[in-house]
Symmetry: C2
């Protein structure tokens, strides 16, 4: 559909905050009111965009080891969302996450069960990983956007450099290295630690058949 292509173009060029029905109509070469014959309202438009994108997320080959399957599935979703981070904002603001992402949920829950979790523990593990993934994408995407918009010195960085070393000894010592540290992509590393911790804690409550 013509409209969806125009919407994708505008979002990539100007950011999704700048997408309005009127701008979209101008880009698509129609009247704003015409759009309402193709989508119910703006929310519906964004949902369709979300689902189209979700359907495109490639399913990676899954390793045999269940723990690695969990990590592979989470990383696949993370990397796809990170490539178009505004999608995540709709995903959390909106309910209609499509069936497209369900393979990831199933894969993670199945992996956790194969690691010896109960189904409840597996569901909790999935949710914990989802929270971590969403948070990482939102925080880092907004930080990146700000770096692009602002000229140079972020508020947080200047605040860090002026901290009282008596009250904040570790932060003051880290201040000049902080921007470089915060810019690193540590998602995968954190994910691995999280999965390890979640599985270990699950086994404490409910030891698996064979350790």
């Amino acid at each position: 559909m013509q409209i969806m292509a125009a919407a994708r173009l505008l979002i990539d060029r100007d950011g999704w905050q700048k997408l309005t029905m009127r701008r979209l109509a101008a880009e698509a070469g129609t009247a704003p009111t015409t759009l309402y014959h193709h989508v119910r309202d703006k929310e519906d438009l964004l949902t369709q965009l979300l689902n189209d994108y979700a359907d495109q997320i490639p399913r990676p080959p899954l390793p045999a080891d269940p723990r690695e399957r969990i990590i592979t599935a989470a990383r696949a979703i993370h990397d796809s969302l990170a490539a178009w981070p505004w999608i995540t904002e709709i995903l959390t603001a909106d309910d209609r996450a499509g069936e497209a992402a369900m393979w990831m949920v199933e894969t993670i829950v199945a992996g956790a069960v194969d690691c010896g979790c109960t189904t409840e523990q597996a569901a909790d593990l999935y949710r914990a990983i989802w929270y971590y993934t969403v948070g990482e994408i939102l925080v880092r995407a907004n930080a990146a956007r700000r770096r692009g918009e602002l000229d140079r010195p972020s508020h947080r960085d200047t605040l860090l450099s002026k901290l009282d070393p008596a009250r904040f000894p570790h932060l003051a010592a880290l201040a000049d290295r902080w921007p470089a540290l915060a810019a690193r992509d540590t998602y995968a590393q954190g994910l691995r630690a999280f999965v390890d911790g979640l599985l270990a804690n699950a086994h404490d409550d409910h030891p698996p058949r064979r350790a």
Copy 2:
């Protein structure tokens, strides 16, 4: 300030999406243009609201054990943000997190260092916990808002109940229990697992002096 009190009232009553300069002026009993003598613009207003709230977050007494200090600090921030979740949206969208939250960063970094982490590992640990915390609050707050707005059946839940059991065996089996499981507050449990996993992985790379 009169204006800030009115803003808090409106946000609590109607949600922060509904807060507009014009509505706020009406509530405060002035003209919309008058607001601009007290705040630079709408973003400035939200930032002031954020900082006022952050200053109020109580600092809990910190236990002696460094791992428990990390968990206590993270939970204190989490619980405060969860009580007024829209704050988190501004916190991620906006850069100007005040000095008020810095004690939490310092406490977590210091706790990680006391657990044997290098400063880099401590900074990574803090960031990972922050991502998890932000994600948990945003996802759950939006889910709760939707439960309030929508009449009853969430899209996700109906989608879950119609899953093909052949392709999604675990999810299909969990479908009817999913809403109840997802409504549970598992933040603290996940936090503990995450901290355990992060510290264990850090020690693999860099074993602490005394284990």
